[in-house]
């Protein structure tokens, strides 16, 4: 499982409508969905949002990757479910946080799986964030695939030295990650020093105003994309106060009688 965790976040340059949407429009879109996810707490409402997001992921040809990521995180989801069940004592109530988590993942994937890290950097700068912040963000994103490769290499090397990750009790298992975590930390520190040096060599200076070679431009399509989603969010929100799982169940009971 550990061996393909990085696949979850890897951007792939595909030619789908979603990949062409301006990152600012996408950012605003995922923002309103996140807000909606937090406001609503009825399973059925969350399910509707999930369907909307999943269909967009399908358009962005990112559904498979999302599903794979989900598979990797299944133990985590089960853990959330169990912990909530223990504290809330009801299955349906404990499903809500699981669904929220799922939605959160799907929404994040909608942005990160379809947005080029370079465009993301430009977005952050266009939001007038300081260069140090936007650069750190986009570099971090940039390095996820490289880091992931490194993690994979280290895991493989330690497996070849007889490390068995899936044996022993809980604490024994945690300790087994030491031979993986330490090399990763060392590599990351080395890498960050290298990056800092290479930025300095190329004259990156946060105090100087920069001019971009590639500029982001909002097109009609980007605006429409956002407005359609805003419309969907509003409709779901308004409908949510009229229809809930309970009213639906009640309705079904009525129709039986």
């Amino acid at each position: 499982m550990m061996r393909n965790i990085h696949e979850l976040f890897k951007y792939e340059s595909l030619n789908t409508p979603l990949h062409h949407i301006d990152p600012r429009s996408k950012l605003a879109t995922i923002f309103i969905y996140l807000v909606l996810t937090i406001i609503l707490s009825d399973i059925m409402h969350l399910l509707i949002i999930l369907i909307i997001i999943l269909s967009q992921l399908a358009i962005g040809r990112a559904l498979r990757k999302f599903a794979k990521g989900l598979l990797t995180l299944t133990p985590f989801l089960v853990l959330i479910l169990i912990l909530n069940y223990l504290s809330l004592g009801s299955v349906s109530a404990s499903l809500v946080p699981v669904f929220r988590f799922l939605l959160f993942l799907a929404i994040m994937d909608l942005f990160f799986l379809t947005t080029d890290p370079d465009d993301f950097a430009l977005t952050l700068e266009s939001l007038r964030l300081p260069l140090t912040v936007s650069l750190s963000f986009s570099l971090a994103l940039r390095f996820i695939p490289t880091m992931a490769e490194q993690v994979n290499e280290i895991v493989e090397a330690q497996l070849s030295r007889g490390l068995k990750l899936d044996q022993g009790n809980f604490f024994a298992r945690i300790r087994k990650y030491v031979p993986i975590l330490i090399p990763i930390i060392i590599l990351s520190i080395k890498r960050s020093i290298e990056v800092a040096e290479s930025l300095e060599i190329r004259g990156v200076d946060p105090n100087i105003k920069r001019i971009h070679y590639v500029a982001l431009k909002l097109s009609m399509r980007d605006i429409v994309y956002f407005l359609v989603n805003l419309g969907l969010v509003i409709v779901v929100y308004l409908a949510s106060s009229y229809i809930s799982s309970e009213s639906l169940i009640a309705l079904l009971h009525f129709s039986k009688i």
Partner: protein, 276 residues
């Protein structure tokens, strides 16, 4: 013996094959160099030998055991894998623990661990560093430590991915000695390398790969006399073989040279030196 039968491999479920119809037999005590250009599939191939990767199609057998049927940890006891830049995997506070790590994983008792670690550190001139941090060693010493921490469990097959990468002339010489030592112990040694000069010095059996396929499998000498195949796989002739072919083209020699000394003698005699 490692046997590879009709091996095909792809990383992505619907992706292109990175390895295509590979068939190989690697016998006991053989010295082998797997060569080829970047992305030819060399690393992908050797990762099948200790089960890190399993065939998409076809089979890989290590001593008659199908690699799909046993865990990596079991195959690794037989097939020691030394990756490119192996010093990246260090994590211990002391050199001693770094070497003992695999032995502990494989369940050796403390007495054997003490004996084996002491022995290997002495062979690799690292005994004096046993209590030091692996991270303070020089690049060459780190590479030696990485190799020692695999050879310590005495695997029958040893795979080294780019052992000469980033090493100076002295370290290359030491590596050469280590390889000779392993061969004399009867180990099967599989080197993955671009380094034609290094291969020209040891003259192993060469498996040449290009684009996921084996395009040559045979003597190094015969391969190095054939610049056509070499270039098709992104490699050039070693200096000695370039020299040889120039002299042959001029009709000055027949055949070729096995060593630099041989070449030097021949050239001196061509110059008509009486001392020879």
């Amino acid at each position: 013996m490692i046997v590879v039968e009709n091996l095909y491999f792809t990383y992505a479920p619907q992706g292109d094959y990175v390895l295509k119809n590979i068939n190989l037999e690697i016998g006991e005590g053989e010295l082998i160099a797997i060569m080829g250009d970047n992305g030819a599939g060399k690393t992908t191939l050797v990762k099948h030998f200790n089960g890190l990767l399993k065939p998409t199609l076809g089979r890989v057998y290590v001593d008659d055991v199908d690699t799909r049927d046993v865990p990596i940890s079991e195959l690794s006891r037989k097939v020691g894998m030394i990756f490119q830049y192996p010093e990246k995997m260090f994590f211990s506070e002391r050199v001693w623990d770094e070497v003992a790590f695999a032995l502990r994983n494989f369940g050796y008792d403390e007495a054997s661990i003490n004996r084996l670690v002491q022995k290997i550190l002495n062979i690799f001139w690292l005994w004096k560093y046993r209590d030091s941090s692996p991270f303070i060693l020089s690049g060459g010493e780190q590479r030696r430590l990485a190799i020692a921490s695999v050879l310590v469990w005495n695997p029958k097959y040893v795979v080294m991915d780019e052992p000469t990468a980033g090493q100076d002339a002295v370290q290359r010489e030491i590596l050469l000695q280590i390889i000779n030592m392993m061969v004399s112990q009867g180990k099967t040694v599989i080197l993955v390398t671009h380094d034609v000069e290094f291969v020209a010095e040891i003259r192993p059996r060469v498996i040449l790969m290009s684009n996921g396929e084996v395009v040559y499998d045979g003597e190094a000498t015969r391969l190095f006399r054939n610049p056509g195949i070499l270039e098709s796989a992104g490699l050039t002739q070693p200096i000695l073989f370039k020299l040889e072919s120039r002299l042959r083209d001029q009709g000055l020699i027949e055949g070729g040279f096995n060593t630099i000394d041989e070449a030097a003698k021949k050239i001196i005699s061509l110059l008509g030196d009486e001392r020879l």
